[in-house]
Symmetry: C2
Subunit: 377 residues, 2 copies
Amino acid sequence: MPFEYTLLHRDSGCAARRGTFSTCRGTVQLPTFMPVGTRGSVKGVELRQLQETGAEIVLGNTYHLMVRPGEKVVKALGGLHTFTGWEKPMLTDSGGFQIFSLAQLSKITEEGAVFRSHIDGAKFELTPERSVQVQEDLDSDIAMVLDHVVGLPNTRKVVEDAMARSIRWAKRCKDVHRLETQTQFAIVQGGLEYDLRKICAEELAALDFGGYAIGGLSVGEPPQAMYDCLDVVTPALPENKPRYLMGVGRPEDILEGIRRGVDMFDCVMPSRNGRNAMAFTDQGPKRLRNACYERDTRPLEEGCPCPACRRSLGYLRHLFMTGEMLGPILLTIHNLTYYQRLMADARRAIEEDRFTGFCAEKYAGWSGSTGGQCDPS
Amino acid sequence: MPFEYTLLHRDSGCAARRGTFSTCRGTVQLPTFMPVGTRGSVKGVELRQLQETGAEIVLGNTYHLMVRPGEKVVKALGGLHTFTGWEKPMLTDSGGFQIFSLAQLSKITEEGAVFRSHIDGAKFELTPERSVQVQEDLDSDIAMVLDHVVGLPNTRKVVEDAMARSIRWAKRCKDVHRLETQTQFAIVQGGLEYDLRKICAEELAALDFGGYAIGGLSVGEPPQAMYDCLDVVTPALPENKPRYLMGVGRPEDILEGIRRGVDMFDCVMPSRNGRNAMAFTDQGPKRLRNACYERDTRPLEEGCPCPACRRSLGYLRHLFMTGEMLGPILLTIHNLTYYQRLMADARRAIEEDRFTGFCAEKYAGWSGSTGGQCDPS
C-alpha cells in the first residue's frame, strides 16, 4: 500500500523517531534530508552524482516550474520524474513560500495569490485549487497544500489571520485533490504564537492528510525560538504520519528537529553554500578560498566517499580561485553527501538509543574542539 | 618501453593512419582527440564523467597553470595527475600560443617572451628553458616545445623569422629537457608558406623529437588552406612518430586531418560550444535554445550513451532557458562523447580501409541530408 508511515523505533532518550515512508516510487528512510532541485535540477549535479550522495527523495519548486517551463510543458515531457530522470520519490512545494519570498507585487486574498513572475513580470494566479492542479500535472509523489506565509516578527493578528486562512486553503486543496499516486501534506502555520501553532496542528490533524509540515519557520527568528516552537507543534501532530520541517536548515537545526520528532527536512544550504566555496565537515565549516589551503595535500574530509574528497584541498581551492565550474560542482556534491551521511548516522543513532550522545559528539566537532584545520570557525 | 609510436594499419585509400602511442601512464589509441583541461579541469566535467566520454589523454595549458596556481603549487600538490586526479596520459602545451592570443603587452625577443598575465597584469617571463622547467614541474607525459606563433595572414618575412626562431627554440628546449617520464614534441611553424613549412618539418625531424605537432593553423585562415598545408607538411614528418594538429577543430577539420595522416587533435570547441547550448550530432549541430525543442520528448541523439541523451530535448532546452548549470555540463559531456565516438568510428574505418567512405557518410549527415530536426543548420 502506498503512502504508509511506519515507525521502526523511537529513541529512548528523546522524541527522535526512526521510520519509513512509502510511496509508489519507493520507500524513504526517515529521518531524511531532501536536496532542493528547484527548477528540475539540483544545481550543477548530474543525476548519478545525486544518487550517489545517498539522497532518496528530492524537492521541486512548484512556483519556479509553473513560471518556467510551465507545468503543461513538464507534463508533455512526461512529468517531473521523466523530465528530470529522477526515478525515486519527489516532493513538490505549493508555491506559498515563494509568493512570500520571491514573487513581485503579490496580492493575497481569500481566493488566492496574484503575483508577477520574478523573471519577466508575467502575471500568474495561484489559488489552492491551482496549486493542486499544477502539482498533479508535475506528477510529484508528495504535494504540499498552498499556505499563507508571513514574515517574522509580525503582529499576532497578522499571524492568526494567515494561520486561519492556511487551514481554509488546506481544506480547499484536499477537496480538489484527485491524483491517487500522489499524497498531500498539510502545513502548520502560526508564527511563534505557540497557542496558534497548536490549534493549527490540531485542526489540520483532524483533516487526515498524508503528512504534516511545519512551515513559516527559519524566516529570521532565532534558532532557539524555532526549537521551542517545535516542542509545542510536534506533540500535537499525528503519531502515524511523517512530519516535515520546511526549509530547514543548518546541520544543528536538523539535529534539533530530529530530537523533537521531525522526520523530513529540505534546505538549499548544502548546495548554495557549496557553490560559494563553503564546505560542511565534521570539524565545522571550511572556506575553500582560504589561503591556508593553497598547498594542502589533504582531502577536505577523511573518510568521505564523495569525488571532492578524492582530490586535495589545494586543488579544490585552485578551482574556486580560478572560477572553474568544477569547484561549485564538487563542493555541492560534498555538502549533499555530508548531509546524507549525517542523516544516515542519525538514523543509526536513533536505532541504538544514543541520539542525544550522537548530537553532543557532532556539536563538539562542529565547534572546533576536535578540529585541526586552519579555519575551524 | 615508454614513448613508442606503433603503426597498426594504414588506410588503403588515403594517408589515414591507425596507430598507438605509449607513455608511462598508458597507451593512447590513434587517431585521438584530447579534451582541453586548461586550468586542471575540463570545465564542468567531473573526472569519471570525463573518463566515460572515452577520452584517453587530456591537455593542460602551461600558460594558465603557471599564472594560477603556479607550477610550484601544482608540483607541491603532486603534479598535474595527482592534482587533477586524471591518471591517464596528459599533454601540456608550451604557452607559445597563449602568449600570442591571450597575454597582454607581450614582448618577444630571441631570448623568449615577457608578458603580463591576463588575470592581474603580473609580469611573467617565458623562455624555452622556462617552458621546459614549468612542464617538468607539472609532470605531464608529453611536453611541447616553446614556439613563436604569429597570426595569419602575415608577411613572408614575419612568418619566416618566427619559423626560424621556433626551430632555434625547439633546440634549446631539447637541450635542457631532463624528465625521463616525459617526452617532448616539436612544433612545425611556417604559416601558409608551404616551402617554409616543409623546411621547418625537415629541420625538426632531424632533431629526433618524440612527436611532431603542426602549429599556427586554425588561426583565421580558410579551412582549405589548412588542408592544403597539411598536404605539404605531413609527408615531411617522420613516419615513426605521432603527428599532432594543434587546436583543431571542427569535426570535419579533424576528419580532413586524419585523412592526411594526422594522429592527434585538441580543441575547446566541443566544451565551449556545449556551454553555449550548441550540440554536435550526426545530423549536424543543434542549438538547444531553439523553441522547437520545448516539448520535444526525443533524446538529443539516438544511440548516444551519454547522460544528456538519457533526457529529452525539452529538458535540455529548459536547463539552458533557465540558466541551470546542468545544461552546460550535460552538453559538454555530450559533445566530448560525440568527438570520442567520432574518433573511435574513424579508427575502425581506417582498420577496415574505408575511411574515405566513412568521411562521405559523416558529411552527408552533417549537411542535413539525413536529418529530420527543426534546425539542421
